[in-house]
Symmetry: C2
Subunit: 395 residues, 2 copies
Amino acid sequence: MLKPFSDKVASLAPSAIREILKFTADPEVISFAAGNPAPEAFPVETISKLSADIFAEEPINALQYSVTEGYMPLRKWLESDLRSKNMFADGDMVIVTAGAQQAIEVTAKILCNEGDVILCEDPSFIGSLNAFRSYGVKLAGVPTDKDGMLPDALEAALKANPTAKFIYTIPNFQNPTGNTTTLERRKACLELAKKYSVYILEDNPYGDLRFAGEPVPSYKSLDTDGHVLYAGTFSKVLAPGLRVGYLCGASELLAKAVVGLQTSTVHTNIWAQMLVYRFVTTVDLKEHLKRLQGIYRSKCRRMLDGLHANMPDCVTYSNPEGGLFIWATMPEKYDMNAFCTEAVKNKVAVVPGNAFLADENAVSHSFRLNFSTPTDEQLDRGTEILGQTAKRFFK
Amino acid sequence: MLKPFSDKVASLAPSAIREILKFTADPEVISFAAGNPAPEAFPVETISKLSADIFAEEPINALQYSVTEGYMPLRKWLESDLRSKNMFADGDMVIVTAGAQQAIEVTAKILCNEGDVILCEDPSFIGSLNAFRSYGVKLAGVPTDKDGMLPDALEAALKANPTAKFIYTIPNFQNPTGNTTTLERRKACLELAKKYSVYILEDNPYGDLRFAGEPVPSYKSLDTDGHVLYAGTFSKVLAPGLRVGYLCGASELLAKAVVGLQTSTVHTNIWAQMLVYRFVTTVDLKEHLKRLQGIYRSKCRRMLDGLHANMPDCVTYSNPEGGLFIWATMPEKYDMNAFCTEAVKNKVAVVPGNAFLADENAVSHSFRLNFSTPTDEQLDRGTEILGQTAKRFFK
């Protein structure tokens, strides 16, 4: 008898979203379940030209082994970009990863023993939660409202979990809720991190996709003594298929993360790193982001309009100022999972909220809606179907 | 006080090779320390054209999120290629990874608890050994000779380590020794894996670079009941910067590996996967490999000739039939590490053999020489300097 799986992965299941995405293979299904950037947001012609330039000018650099830390010109650009936002302190280091997901995964690997605790917003991004679970880490979910984690609840969780290693947070247009943590809450949570000597892992994939309201200073910029690790990515502002993200923080942590990456992917695809570098130094980034923000503002508006026009009034929605997601919440008397099943039968896929909970078996009355992937037509038709489903279901 | 690193990575150090490669930043140093494919082996023009085709024909597919399992056309091609070599059984699955290194790392992750044992050839590839160490796994090195692991020693190690999960082996032109495991030895080791109910992880990065002798059937092709996992890569036959490798084996294992990858890189850079697919289905692969084999045959010959002409006769060498490496062994009375230090002072870098041992503090009298990266001129000049160093050192 061959031996079974390691304890840390034995119960690890494919993400619930992936299971739902199977339904979306049916071309008739309108998917509000994904988290893909809008394809029209990809600057295809520019990327195509920059790629051709790379092969014309320095093909060997794009094909040979490279260093684990990442493509030096890109790292220098990131350092200077982060410094300009007060997010790169003396003694910091920035390294390139295969997407922010790998930055998050390697952080858990270098900091956590099995049985240690990671505190996270409840609900939170399932990809990160599964990365933490894959190291046998326990998740302690911290209740949130529209302004982010509740500081009292965070402190209670920190007290209850002395083996907590870090707080994982997505402060801007959170996945799945779309909510943004206020400055006051950020300051309070950072204070608690200091008081209880834990790190904060700040995950900011959507920060540049703000299409309303005013930017809030990042945790990283508020940090003065190495408590914050910052994960960023080019997946949402350029293209996710490239798998280029980064991790920034205190050098002694980052140096260990490099050793971790060296044993995994060795380095991130180097052509993609060179492409990103040429992109950020060639185009007018501000203009590019403005264009993306316009696309997402319009799609978010359209989805919210469709929901308000078609859904029963008892369902409420978050009001995101950026990002890709809206969080819908139903009255407690209805069975959210049964509603989602009905919806997918009617050819609209959404993600049941419990998929995003620290305890997946807990009850949720919410579901996640993605507005970035569907076309305008799908946004209209999908919210109409969702409304019809809800009206029948709520009777 | 912020909490320290996880136990599993606390003592993990950057690979010794990387430390040596720092010396090679000095442009005057001739490096026999790397493991890079020869840059002249990269089919730059073909890759450049295929990349342009991708952006002309299906840019969105190359930029959007993709599935964790890998690009389906590439997976189908791999399946058919492996099947033609009797290396894809019913119930098997093949998935794409970010290089074979990630295939190896995820195998350790899904199979091993901390404190479990992995058996490996002693010496073996440091990148894999560090991946295993990064999961808190104990390494049990199995002594080898020019024909591979010694079966009696392997059985003794299996008896001594009841928590052994798998045997890690590089059967063709092993890194670092350049030796190939004979068919007889493969059969004996596979029998032992079955007897003691452990897996074999067969790592075959160099198999297609055979430039002499006859191919030996892979462990995977000899396996009849799911004991062998097979890791392959396009790093040596196409380009390592792409980071495209693969893992093949029983579906139930591979499905868990997919969940592991999903929490790490999500998927391998999709442009690179599409490029590899177009490459293997466009070019005459046999001709391409013949060209590479010609390059490596000539470089290996040139290095061995240089060594025989310049080095004292008391130093012996492996005689690789493929791959990238030669293993040199000195008489026991000399201090190998001191010799390597002398060599690098004289501007030739080689890798001390103990870097490749399961116990890095054990004594080694060997060092690794790479012949694929240096130019012909560097091969000549480097072996000359090595010879002068040795003659002075051995006095």
